[in-house]
């Protein structure tokens, strides 16, 4: 059976060409000027571009708030779904991803329309709630998977040793579910930080997020500056991955 | 001359530098029920997998009816295996699992059906053809696994602990059925187990293995009654294993008493191991007419017989089995008949190693340096080092010793324990101790300088 390890080769090559090389190219383009010479200009320009920096700050703020909201709303949901005593089945968990079958942009437009009908002005508030709508399932899944896999004997042992239900949760269940929480954060924080169409639709174009800036630059052929902005994002991804303990276990397998 | 269906010649196998089989030689007769018996890690399953072809030997060869199997891949070997965890194909039903091999051989459909039906009847699973294999109980799955192997009419059936996952009652039933199947079919069975009782019940021949080496080959009765060494005696059934001295032919001294025995040819005043089965010690309430006496320490009912521990007047603890119970604290008389005393040559009388002098009073062996009494040696001299078993001190803290190791085996010898400790360097050191240790305990090893005997290496090795 050991010879089958060579079967990984096509995918290894594929990953090298379509994942590693493109990421390297972001860095390469970020440090080049139009004529292909090395420059720090693109990266420096970001820090002096007050529009870009303030968008970056706003995106960071929105992303953090969205992530926290998703965590606050999603954790209890994941816990309830994973807990057999509440009588939910896998069908319910599948119901949380089914809205994904309706095109995300159309769904977002409908959400924005609903907000207008209900009398909310499109702005930061609607942006936040719209994003939570879109990304909540990505928070619920990894946590749900983690809680489901967890051996119930841990919490039973804690109870047996005299922990109250609250203590069991705080001292056993929650710490053990942290890997799921981390990958949930990773799966929500990054996309919210960089969405473009969705933020435009939800605020009627009033609020730009960092993704929009990247898209605008790439679309107007400012590849090098666009690459530099992407590099800023990549650095942030790297930092977040480090903080959340890497992406060792993304827990997104076996959803369907 | 007997015809051998399977012969193993000088078979060796290592995994990542760890030797699991060393020079295995074995001959199996057509129609025999052979059991490979040993504790986990003794290499028994490796032998089976080598025969089946899932592993390639590093050295040596396997012959089937005189033909070398080395270059024959597993799917071309006329042998079939029954796996411990059944390994039924979960996506196929019972019928298709059994028909799998026949379909690959392109056996005509009608014949497949006939043969599958027949073999299902043999394993008493006739009404289960269309059942999903995962819906079957463990015992039923094992029957299907046996049927799936037998339907191909293999020359040899290999069974890898097939009953280990079943509960006791089911295991007993299946043992009887397996034995019946073997008698009926006349196929050679090679059976792997760590359960000595199962081996003794089922086999024509038992092969006892320990750490990749064959210890003893023989009929179940031979193995039980005449174990060749203390390992076999300890592994097969309950036994009292004691140190003794062969005074002369047919006369052996142990428990501080001399006994008549039937063994000869050991020489005079030679240290030996003596094995006495607990049911072979006669116990009685009177002391006159007994060979020696003792006090009953404990008495437990074991279903048919009572198991008692008796402390002899000289301080040995013996296990005795009898149909009658004896009161705890009472003095009893004991007799051992000559034919019930099994005398075995000692595998070793002291620890002995190759070493190197590291200075006038330092010697290196077992991968560590020890202090020793200065002698007629200089640095760099190769020497032979000997240490008596009872001079090897084991310590709780591994830092307290000159080196350390883990307890690999424990043998109770009536008034002391005989321990084998595997040191870090991979070598064994034996210790005679009164202290109680558990297997896999990590122990420090200490030897006093005056207890290390150093001899010049003789010969030009």
């Amino acid at each position: 059976m050991s010879k089958r390890s060579t079967w990984v080769l096509p995918y290894a090559i594929f990953l090298a060409v379509f994942v590693v090389l493109p990421l390297v190219l972001i860095a390469v383009y970020a440090f080049q000027d139009n004529s292909g010479h090395f420059t720090l200009g693109n990266v420096l320009r970001f820090f002096s571009d007050s529009d870009a920096v303030s968008t970056f700050a706003l995106s960071l703020e929105v992303a953090i708030e969205t992530t926290l909201l998703c965590l606050l709303l999603g954790y209890p949901a994941a816990w309830i779904l994973a807990n057999k005593k509440f009588g939910f089945t896998t069908v319910t968990i599948v119901m949380f991803i089914m809205p994904m079958w309706v095109n995300a942009l159309l769904r977002t437009l409908a959400t924005a329309e609903l907000f207008s009908i209900l009398g909310f002005t499109l702005g930061k508030g609607t942006l936040l709630f719209g994003m939570v709508y879109d990304f909540l399932p990505f928070m619920i899944y990894p946590i749900y998977n983690m809680l489901l896999k967890m051996d119930t004997s841990y919490s039973e042992a804690a109870e047996d040793l005299g922990a109250t239900p609250v203590q069991v949760f705080l001292k056993v269940t929650f710490p053990l579910s942290l890997p799921g929480v981390y990958s949930g954060i990773l799966m929500v924080f990054m996309p919210t930080m960089s969405t473009f169409a969705i933020s435009e639709f939800l605020t009627n174009g009033k609020i730009k997020l960092f993704g929009t800036i990247i898209q605008e630059n790439i679309n107007s052929s400012m590849w090098n500056y666009g690459a530099a902005l992407s590099l800023v994002m990549l650095v942030l991804i790297g930092l977040t991955s480090l903080v959340t303990g890497g992406s060792r276990d993304t827990n997104v397998g076996g959803v369907v | 001359m007997d015809k051998f269906i399977i012969e193993l010649k000088h078979l060796s196998k290592s995994f990542d530098d760890k030797k699991v089989l060393e020079d295995i030689n074995l001959q199996i007769r057509q129609g025999e029920f052979v059991t490979l018996l040993g504790p986990s890690g003794c290499g028994k399953t490796t032998i089976l997998r080598l025969i089946a072809g899932f592993l390639k030997p590093d050295d040596g060869s396997i012959l089937l009816e005189g033909k070398d199997l080395s270059d024959v891949p597993p799917y071309k070997r006329p042998l079939n295996t029954v796996f411990q965890r059944y390994a039924l194909f979960p996506h196929l039903d019972v019928y298709d699992n059994i028909a799998f091999g026949l379909k690959l051989q392109k056996v005509p459909g009608e014949e497949i059906e006939k043969r599958v039906r027949k073999v299902l009847k043999l394993v008493s699973m006739s009404d289960y053809e269309e059942r999903d294999v995962e819906s079957l109980s463990g015992g039923q799955q094992q029957r299907v696994a046996i049927a799936r192997a037998l339907v191909n009419r293999p020359k040899v059936l290999l069974l890898d602990e097939p009953l280990a996952a079943l509960d006791l009652k089911m295991r007993k039933d299946m043992q009887i059925e397996l034995k019946e199947m073997h008698d009926k079919l006349g196929i050679t069975f090679i059976y792997v187990t760590h359960d000595q009782e199962e081996a003794l019940t089922l086999s024509d021949t038992v092969i006892v293995l320990k750490e990749g080496k064959i210890q003893q080959t023989g009929t179940p009765a031979d193995i039980y009654n005449e174990p060749v060494n203390s390992f076999v005696a300890d592994f097969i059934g309950d036994s009292n294993i004691l140190n003794g001295i062969m005074v002369r032919d047919r006369r052996v001294k142990f428990l501080y008493h001399e006994f008549d025995c039937v063994d000869e040819g050991f020489g005079e005043n030679v240290p030996v191991d003596v094995v006495v089965r607990p049911e072979d010690i006669y116990i009685m309430n009177r002391t006159e007419g007994s060979q020696f006496t003792g006090v009953v320490k404990s008495c437990t009912f074991k279903g048919v017989h009572y198991e008692m521990f008796v402390m002899t007047d000289e301080g040995y603890e013996l296990m005795v089995q009898d149909y009658n119970a004896f009161e705890i604290g009472s003095t009893v008389g004991l007799i051992i008949k000559p034919q019930d005393i099994q005398v075995m040559k000692k595998e070793r009388v002291c620890n002995s190693y190759r070493g190197v002098m590291k200075g006038a009073d330092r010697v290196e062996f077992l991968g560590a340096e020890f202090e020793c009494v200065p002698g007629d040696f200089k640095e760099g001299d190769p020497v032979e080092v000997e240490v008596d078993f009872r001079k090897v001190d084991l310590m709780d803290d591994k830092e307290d010793g000159c080196t350390y190791g883990t307890v690999a085996s424990i043998l109770y010898k009536g008034n002391h324990y005989f321990l084998r400790v595997k040191t870090e360097s991979g070598e064994d050191i034996y210790s005679h101790t009164q202290d109680v240790w558990d297997k896999y305990d990590t122990v420090g090893i200490k030897i006093l300088p005056q207890d290390i005997r150093i001899k010049k290496l003789t010969g030009d090795e």
């Binding site: 379509f18 942009l105 590849w223 060792r248 997104v252 | 597993p74 079939n80």
Partner: protein, 268 residues
């Protein structure tokens, strides 16, 4: 009481999540051009959709076709590549295995925009003209990791002795693979395929950056352009409603079949 509150909580979340979807479905039964205006019940939009009479007309139809074809191709190739990769990774040990798993996670963790921009730069760098092929390749890039993650657990569940048992019963290694290993992997491959298909259908950003300038549109890019122009094609409402219902029916069928199998096993 606790149980009741918990159930209410989950259902409220679900109702909120489904609100936009239901809203789209409701609005598909009225003629109004603007989503949200109710001008009386009508099947006209459904009629337009099937009659092909609609704003955008053939452009929308070809966007639908592109979306489905790209999703099918991407899911199919991802399934094959991912399964092969999962088997390979399963047989790797130590550093190599960890490296492959880490690399496999990158496209999952990377936000769409980064994946899109990086692939855009790749195609620019390699001077590949962008269009259908580049979009499919890009989709395979972010779909395959999900297939790998779905097939890997299956591989660990397989009793390795079943492969040996097949050899033992006379199957060549190739036969043992096809007749014993693959059938046991199929459930993981299928769920990987469905997940990949879903991800591809829903993608906007990656397609946006890798479709080039040849005017290739998928539903997402079509909607994006359409919405930016101001008037969203009303027939998208019935279209999405139908796609959603179709997927729902598929899911119910798959689940009912799985349940029936389980039940039969339990009864036995």
């Amino acid at each position: 009481m606790k149980r009741f509150l918990a159930r209410i909580y989950v259902w409220v979340l679900l109702v909120l999540l489904y609100a936009p979807v239901v809203f789209i479905a409701v609005c598909s039964f009225t003629e109004s051009r603007v989503m949200g205006n109710w001008t009386g019940f009508s099947f006209k939009l459904y009629g337009n959709l099937f009659g092909g009479v609609m704003q955008g007309g053939s452009a929308l139809l070809s966007a639908i076709e592109n979306t489905l074809v790209i999703a099918l191709l991407a899911a199919l190739f991802s399934m094959l590549l991912g399964t092969l990769a999962a088997i390979g990774i399963h047989n790797l040990r130590g550093r190599k295995r960890n490296t492959m798993q880490l690399l496999n996670n990158i496209p999952i963790v990377n936000p769409d925009v980064i994946t899109g921009v990086s692939l855009f730069l790749l195609f620019v760098f390699l001077k590949v003209s962008q269009g259908y092929v580049t979009v499919v390749l890009a989709h395979i890039t972010f779909c395959t990791p999900f297939v790998v993650l779905n097939v890997m657990p299956r591989l660990t569940q397989i009793n390795p002795n079943t492969y040996e048992a097949a050899l033992d019963l006379g199957a060549t290694p190739a036969q043992a693979f096809a007749k014993v290993l693959v059938p046991q992997l199929v459930p993981g491959m299928v769920s990987g395929f469905i997940l990949a298909f879903t991800m591809s259908l829903d993608d906007f950003a990656v397609t946006f950056f890798t479709r080039g300038t040849i005017g290739l549109d998928t539903l997402s890019t079509y909607i994006y352009t359409d919405a930016r122009k101001g008037g969203l094609t009303p027939e998208l409402r019935p279209l999405m409603t139908l796609i959603f219902l179709l997927m729902l029916v598929l899911l119910v069928i798959v689940n009912v079949r799985a349940n029936r199998r389980n039940k039969i096993e339990v009864e036995k």
